[in-house]
Amino acid sequence: MAQAIAFYFIAACILGFAVLVVSTKDTVHSVLFLVLDFLFVAALYVLLGAEFLAAIQILVYAGGIVVLYLFVVMLVNLKRPPEAHSDPHRRTMLGFLLAGAVLVEVGAIAIYGFSQPAMVPVPGAAMPVTGNTAQIGWLLYTSYLIPFEIASMLLLVAMIGAIVLAKREL
């Protein structure tokens, strides 16, 4: 019961803040909502028993990526409102429609298509508290070693690329 309450509360917060993120006019505020959103996603991970992922989520997203966004927002101090000019060929309504359709379809699949096989209820917080960190580390460094290395290489490349792009003169 408590778990259900927690889930619904967190889910509501996630969705609400997500809506705020995409709907706020002031970019800085929407960045802040993004941070809150991520924090609640982390809470959801804890509910799912993935506390390591939760910590990583906060550390990388809230602590790293969004700070980057914030910097950019501050550096790009806009004299004129960013969304002033609007192209006549935009199809905004169509976007809404398509997104809604996709949501409906996926929902249908999730509810009807997916629940034909007997669903085991997810024992959220009932997960053993003795951590899955070791398990994840084991997987990362044995079966997924090469993807892991490739990911690190990707990060390196991205770092260099970002420096090259953002630096005025090299």
């Binding site: 505020h29 802040l32 941070v35 506390e51 910590a55 990583i56 906060i58 550390l59 809230a62 003795t130």
Partner: protein, 340 residues
């Protein structure tokens, strides 16, 4: 019911209040120590030897007028101090002040909780604290705070890398992320990690200075250059919150350093048998003494060292500390895999 709800709540209340009191008295301590370092007396008026000075300060800060600049972003302006204060307090949830003790006939652990990713939890929560500073600088809509906040956040992010790397080498030694089991590992390996990982210890300490914006890295509140830094526009209780957050962070850093490198609540030299008569001292006193030592060193350094220039600070962080930390990590790994 009692074990699941009442006792944790009690612990939280105790820890929070203790922290706040400690913070206020940190201020007094700092003023006193610096005064003595400069052969002055420091606050003497309020109470004997000025021990009531913090109370006076608190009252003053509370009854001061609370100004919000025009054209400032109201919401963010209000949120920033809170954002910077809250993480500093959350972290205390996983800091082990001592092992289990028997209290009023029931086993009580001297820490609020011991989650299995404790260290990671601390790092991540601490990394959220940056927002307070950035937003403070942004929201108060004035150029000096903005510069200061950008500096501060850049500095924090840069030094976070080095500090986290040193933590990783400690985790390698202990083989666990939970604070309590790190202390236990030092107990079973009969050695403080300050001796096993001297380089990591040094880097962590320097990084901690930078993370808490203490001298010689107190760029963000460089009065001479930035007229007081990111909280220039703040006043009254909001300002006080920033102030408290900084000292709370100091206490956090020293507690973490104590736990990771000085063996937490363990007595000095746990590997020397004939010192075991020290065990009659309750363990949490050791913890408090060690943390106090760190705090004193913070103040001492502030009274001693001049401030770095900003580019020097960045060079130190990126070109010295991080490579050293990585080298330390690699050596630790090799030693652990090959020779142990």
């Amino acid at each position: 019911m009692i074990d699941t709800l009442v006792i944790p709540l009690l612990k939280i209340v105790i820890v929070l209040n203790a922290t706040l009191v400690a913070v206020t008295y940190m201020v007094l301590l700092e003023r006193k120590v610096i005064a003595w370092a400069q052969s002055r007396l420091g606050p003497m008026r309020v109470g004997p030897y000025g021990i009531l000075q913090p109370v006076a300060d608190a009252i003053k800060l509370m009854i001061k007028e609370d100004i919000t600049p025009v054209r400032a972003d109201k919401w963010v302006f209000t949120a920033a101090p809170i954002i910077s204060m809250v993480p500093a307090l959350i972290v205390y949830a996983v800091i082990p002040f001592g092992p289990e003790v028997r209290l009023f006939g029931r086993q009580v652990t001297l820490y609020i909780t011991d989650i299995n990713v404790g260290l990671l939890f601390i790092v991540s929560v601490a990394s959220v604290g940056v927002y307070g500073i950035i937003l403070a600088g942004y929201a108060s809509n004035s150029k000096y705070p903005l510069l200061a906040s950008l500096r501060a956040s850049a500095q924090l992010i840069s030094y976070e890398v080095a500090v986290t790397l040193t933590l990783v080498s400690v985790i390698m030694m202990a083989g666990s992320l939970s604070m309590v089991s790190i202390v236990r590992a030092q107990e079973s390996q009969r050695m403080w990690y300050a001796f096993a990982q001297p380089l990591a210890f040094a880097i962590f300490f320097i990084g901690g200075l930078a993370e808490t914006n203490r001298a010689p890295f107190d760029m963000p509140e460089a009065e001479q250059e930035l007229t007081g830094g990111f909280h220039t526009e703040y006043s009254g209780m909001r300002f006080a919150l920033f102030f408290l957050a900084e000292y709370a962070n100091m206490i956090v850093v020293s507690s973490v350093a104590t736990t990771l490198f000085l063996g937490g609540w363990l007595r000095p030299f746990p590997n020397v048998a004939f010192l075991s008569f020290l065990d009659f001292v309750p363990s949490w006193t050791w913890f408090l003494l060690k943390s106090f030592f760190f705090l004193y060193v913070f103040i001492w350094i502030r009274a001693t060292l001049p401030r770095y220039r900003y580019d020097q600070l960045m060079r130190l962080g990126w070109k010295v500390l991080i490579p050293l930390a990585i080298a330390n990590l690699v050596v630790t790994g090799i030693v652990k895999v090959m020779l142990l």
